[in-house]
Amino acid sequence: MNAADTAFVLISAALVMLMTPGLALFYGGMVRSKNVLGTIMQNFIMLGVVGVLWALYGYSLAFGPDVGHIIGNLDWIGLNGVGFEPFKAYSETIPHQTFMIYQAMFAIITPALITGAWAERMKFSTFLVFMVVWSTIVYCPVAHWVWGDGGWLKNLGALDFAGGTVVHINAGIAALAAALVMGPRKGYAGYGNGAEAFIPHNLPMTVLGAGLLWFGWFGFNAGSALAANALASSAFTATHFATCAATLAWVGAEWIHRGKPTTLGAASGAVAGLVAITPAAGYVGPMSAIIIGMAAGSVCYLAVLAKVKLGYDDSLDVVGVHCVGGVLGALLTGLFATKLVNAAGGDGLFFGNPAQLGIQALAVGVTLVYSFVVSYILFKILDATMGLRVTPEEETAGLDLSEHQETGYSL
């Protein structure tokens, strides 16, 4: 047991917790004012829903004793046996309970990321059911495969330092399934002339949210070292420089493409950079991080533009930022990873190990397929039984009034 490590991971857990309200502001600012509370609520309530679920059985399913390399068993149900002694397979220097509460914050923010896809139209009751089921049958197994003791992707040597596959690809591709099954918002006809304008109502709120995400992400990535050591410092550094570079890249891309650098572009680029560096943070050096950030900022900008061409309404670009950014980061980890940064990690293609890229691609592919298929079926079932969307009248009135009977702003 190590007091510094324990203190560092507990603080990191608190930082990651703050990301969920940060995400609520990031998303909340981008919707129209009649949906600001509905959007914020779908994020904030996850602290409650997944928080309780995690203590009851989620942690046991994701990290409990292995069953067939696929899922944890229920030995740790109700946190039974998750005590103060370290669980050596996860960390030898912090209490098992500390690891559990740190992981709880990841389980909370991952499904919250998906909410951007169906913003401004999803029914709250169905949303809650979806989140409970998705956390149980998608998040917990995928977390087990990649991070759990005995998980099959972990055994294969896939590198995912802080959750590129488990968090971002997983949530990002579920967001695509959501947008496809649910259909576009009322009045959405692509963009441009004739279509209703879906203009962000409060970009300062979005930028504040992006700032809180950036801040909290140091806990997400550096904290994933699970110790107050050089590796944490390295992950912190890589996270920061990748994000700086991605912010510049997105703003630069839109400046060239549309003629003006925008604040929303800076905030979006920062989040794209944070996403892409997440799997790589503990395996790459600072210069590699800058390259990963540059790639993320420009590629995610193009991915967001492609949405219009492809014709689905992913309201707040969860696919373009989290899925595309996550895939990019996971693959680039297979190029830029080096044991010079983390001896317990691996070498990528550029450091003499081309096989790593293949393993990364496999982890990406498996996560994409599993999460998409299960999410798609789940949405279809819920659509047929409870209904995914509010009524057209409720959609016109806005979620704040129709789902929550309150308004975000009153004069």
């Binding site: 963009y191 441009g192 002339n193 203009i199 839109e254 979006s268």
Partner: protein, 112 residues
Amino acid sequence: MKKIEAIIQPFKLEPVKEALHGISIEGMTVSEVKGFGRQKGIREVYRGMEYQVDFLPKVKIEIVAADDKVQAVVDIIIAKARTGRIGDGKIFVYPIAEVIRIRTGETGDAAL
């Protein structure tokens, strides 16, 4: 008595108000409004997508003045709110039937 209603550029409110103080106008009402005139709308860009925004933010000033001050008020608004570019706004002048000060019950010019 006349009511002078002017729709002006938001950044011109301060100079107009200052100049109106100079001719001892006793009150005005200001609101933030949106609309379009010949200037039409503008283009805004969010995450690379262009949107046409039809209603532009303007400020509406409402002043009720005695007949002998109406021309001075109009002249000041024109002088201070004008940039010479499209989008400077308009002034409307209406007849007023009656004015009553709620506190005292005074009417007419005395209530202004």
